[in-house]
């Protein structure tokens, strides 16, 4: 058994690089996600946040180290990472819009298809209990759900794979403020049930309020990091997002 001692972080990323052709979108990022923590990655648009998560899931090729639970996952295909407990809820949700809610959830457990049926069914029931709206709509196609419901479905589908570490990419994107609060509340609950979370979010204030630790990404690099509370109070954060005043040129 390798590195499963409780104090080593669950996810350990070292010097990760991701490039699209000649353009480097992520240039040497190192970060940790401790067990049972919510770690957030924030930063303005185009900073490389989504690229980072997609690379960690194996959707994009990357260079550098990534270990999950002490095991090197950097060279694994997506489905092996899934089986090791890594799961991504993409920015675009990537639901099967033409298929029913129930089918979406069933497919969420595709990586567990060789497990006994009972275990998966129990998780499905647990998922419906967590998201009663989805149970009401289980025969509807995913495409007919509202934005908030789709996000719930995307999270519920990801949970069907029984992740150790759930990665969420911009879960608030396109959602009204009230629903954003609901989604983030769900994320907090998930952590309480033992799932570690790595969350990318543009809505910095909201996410920092539920996170333990935060990394601020700017142009593919980590510009700031710290406890969520500290970051939340830092004035520089607003500047990262909304720019400096006139005359105060950025170097």
């Amino acid at each position: 058994m390798s590195g499963t001692s409780p104090d080593t972080p669950l996810l350990c990323v070292r010097d990760l690089h991701v490039s699209y052709g000649p353009v480097e979108a992520v240039g040497g990022i190192s970060l940790d996600v401790p067990r049972g923590a919510i770690v957030s990655v924030i930063g303005p648009n185009g900073a490389g946040k989504s690229t980072l998560l997609n690379a960690l899931m194996g959707l994009l090729p990357s260079k550098g180290q990534a270990t999950l639970d002490g095991r090197d996952v950097a060279a694994m295909p997506v489905e092996d990472r899934l089986r090791r407990g890594l799961c991504l809820v993409s920015e675009k949700r990537e639901l099967f819009a033409e298929m029913s809610v129930a089918d979406n959830l069933a497919l969420g457990a595709y990586s567990r298809r060789h497990e006994p049926k009972g275990a998966v069914e129990a998780d499905l029931e647990a998922g419906y209990q967590r998201f009663p709206r989805l149970k009401e709509r289980r025969h509807q196609t995913a495409g007919t759900l509202s934005g908030g419901e789709r996000q719930m479905l995307a999270i519920a589908r990801a949970l069907m794979a029984r992740p150790q570490l759930l990665m969420l990419d911009e879960p608030s994107l396109g959602l009204a403020p009230l629903i954003v609060a609901e989604v983030l509340e769900t994320v907090s609950e998930l952590r309480r049930s033992g799932v570690s979370i790595l969350i990318v979010e543009q809505n910095a204030r909201a996410v920092l309020r539920i996170a333990d630790y935060g990394y601020v990404l700017e142009q593919g690099r980590i510009a700031m990091e710290g406890d969520a509370a500290t970051l939340l109070a830092d004035e520089r954060l607003i500047q990262t997002y909304l720019g400096f005043g006139k005359g105060e040129a950025a170097a």
Partner: protein, 590 residues
């Protein structure tokens, strides 16, 4: 003289001498290479460059051959007089079929070519007037004032026809429409944004390729002096396409190489293993198919790139900055006075099904003003941008530009009014030079058409277009890279190139979609300086941008949208201190 030119001359000399020394068998081979090459030249234009895959070219060869065969036998016309009719018949068929099928995208088009060419094939085999399955015998030879070309003379005739075909396509490709053709593949949205009618252009190259195929048909009919449907079937069409791929579908000269290689390959096979070929051509098509599969898996670009590597790079192109400065520029669009209202957006809404992407947004833009459009991810900026540029129509509300309502206008018509844009995901043609890419932007400033390009009557206009492109490149500081392929430029430079292309259209309104993404600090400063200068010249600029440092320092005014609605408007400092904006970006403060 460049090595390339010498290579071409040597090749030409060999081709011209060959008919005089070849045996009858050699002549036949050469004739067939030439006949195929003419069709393949058309396919290079259509498929390799224009991106329209056709599995039906042999039908057009058939149309040409049957037309001349019928006219010269049943109607007793002289072959020379039948030629224009045969070419016209090819064009007519292409026009009718193309008008129906070319609107379809991607894979539907090649599938449809398979179907209609089979239909024609079965039809011709059953029409009694065309001889049914037996075909039309005793087609007369070509006779020109008593001279009947045969043997080497006929081969020379075919060689001349190949040269002529190459010339027509080469002329077109070196023109304004030709640049647009080269961008058809995957860049139609960009072309439309610069005023190119891409549907019409696709039809035109389809007709061009069909006329070349019909020319082969005419030559074939009078060479063989017998016509039936078999050589014009689907297999022949597929083989023409294979020749295109083997030669290198993106290279004009690849047509000759492809036709030559394939014809010789088949001949070699027939000679080396005649007992195998005996079985109805089975081995032949098996080998051919295998070669194609392996080639497409390993070298989908064909032989030509490999051959070109043996030759030194192309010589220095003829346009440079000094020349460009000496050429009289196009007259510039009269610019509205600074401060007059140019763009008015009033209550614009866009719905996608139940989703409201843009909700009742209003703002205006004056000549000479630089306006920033910002908002968090997913706020509806791109949708709004698409409404302004005619990519999609507005559901409600009005957009007026210089007095014209444009909220439902097609983007190529908006372009005519003096609106030019850049694209968020750079839409350049990476294998075209920076200069040529910029010249696409100037498309509407010349009116020379396809036919005048084909006949090379557009040279002066063409020179002015390239000079204009050169001046715009100079304006953005990329003149030194004018002849580099756009794909070899750094991403930041490619973004600047997009702006140069937009400037080449001489716009009154410039719409920029994230122009600063991927730029270095210096480049951003230069871009900001350029845009400020444009503003001073009276050009209105609307810029969607994420880089706040850049945008705050550049614009006169900002419009902020969130959830499809305008939440703030005003000077940068005002917007930065607006609590609603801070909340939209960072969430509600605790």
């Amino acid at each position: 003289m460049s090595t390339r030119r010498i290579a071409l001359l040597v090749f030409t000399a060999i081709v011209l001498v060959l008919p005089a020394v070849l045996s009858a068998y050699g002549l036949t081979l050469m004739n067939f290479i030439g006949l195929a090459a003419i069709v393949v030249v058309g396919l290079v234009l259509l498929t390799g460059i224009g991106g329209l895959t056709s599995f039906g070219q042999a039908s057009f060869v058939g149309v040409g051959a049957y037309t001349t065969a019928w006219l010269t036998t049943a109607a007793g016309l002289s072959p020379v007089l039948a030629l224009p009719v045969a070419l016209f018949a090819g064009a007519f068929f292409a026009l009718v079929i193309g008008a129906v099928t070319l609107r379809l995208s991607g894979h539907y088009l090649p599938l449809s070519t398979i179907a209609w060419s089979l239909s024609l094939y079965f039809l011709v085999g059953n029409v009694a007037a065309l001889g049914g399955h037996d075909g039309i015998p005793a087609v007369p030879p070509i006779s020109l004032f008593g001279w009947e070309p045969s043997g080497p003379a006929y081969t020379w005739l075919i060689v001349a026809a190949v040269a002529l075909s190459l010339l027509t396509v080469a002329n077109v490709l070196a023109s304004r429409d030709g640049r647009a053709v080269r961008c058809l593949r995957g860049r139609r949205v960009m072309l439309e944004a610069f005023g190119v009618d891409t549907a019409r252009l696709r039809l035109v190259i389809f007709v061009h390729a069909a006329v070349l195929a019909a020319l082969t048909g005419w030559l074939y009919a009078h060479l063989i002096q017998f016509v039936n449907a078999t050589p014009f079937g689907l297999n022949a069409s597929i083989e023409y396409l294979f020749m295109t791929v083997i030669g290198g579908s993106a290279h004009l000269f690849g047509a000759v190489i492809g036709a030559g290689l394939m014809t010789l390959l088949r001949d070699g096979l027939q000679r080396l293993a005649p007992e195998l070929v005996g079985s109805g051509g089975a081995t032949e098509i098996v080998m051919l198919g295998l070669v194609m599969v392996v080639l497409l898996q390993t070298a989908p670009r064909g032989v030509m790139p490999w051959l070109l590597r043996l030759l030194p790079p192309r010589g220095r192109p003829w346009m440079d900055l000094d020349r460009a400065r000496a050429i009289a520029p196009f007259s510039s669009r009269p610019k509205p006075e600074r401060g007059t209202e140019l763009l008015t957006v009033a209550g614009v809404t866009k719905r996608f099904g139940g989703l409201i992407a843009v909700n009742d947004v209003s703002f205006d833009l004056k000549a000479g003003e630089i306006l920033g459009l910002i908002g968090p991810n997913g706020a509806g900026k791109s949708t709004l941008f698409n409404l302004l540029t005619g990519i999609s129509p507005a559901t409600a509300g009005t957009i007026s530009f210089a007095g014209e309502r444009i909220e439902r206008m097609a983007s190529r018509k908006i372009a005519r009014l003096g609106v030019a844009r850049s694209f968020q995901h750079v839409l350049l043609r990476s294998d075209m030079s920076a200069l040529e890419n910029v010249a696409v932007g100037a498309h509407l400033r010349s009116t020379r058409g396809y036919l005048s390009a084909l006949l090379r009557l557009d040279r002066r206009e063409e020179e002015r277009l390239l000079a204009e492109a050169m001046r715009q490149l100079d304006r953005v500081g990329l003149a030194h890279l004018a002849h580099e392929p756009a794909g070899s430029l750094a991403l930041g430079q490619q973004r600047i190139l997009e702006i140069a292309r937009a400037l080449a259209a001489d716009p009154a309104l410039l719409l920029l979609d994230e122009p600063a993404a991927g730029l270095r600090y210096r480049e951003k400063q230069e871009l900001a300086a350029l845009l400020s200068k444009l503003g001073e010249e009276g050009v209105a600029v609307l810029v969607v941008e994420h880089d706040m440092n850049f945008v705050m320092n550049l614009v006169d005014r900002l419009v902020v949208i969130s959830f499809g609605q305008k939440i703030s408007e005003g000077a940068p400092t005002h917007v930065q201190n607006d609590v609603a904006v801070q909340e939209a970006y960072l969430g509600v403060a605790a």
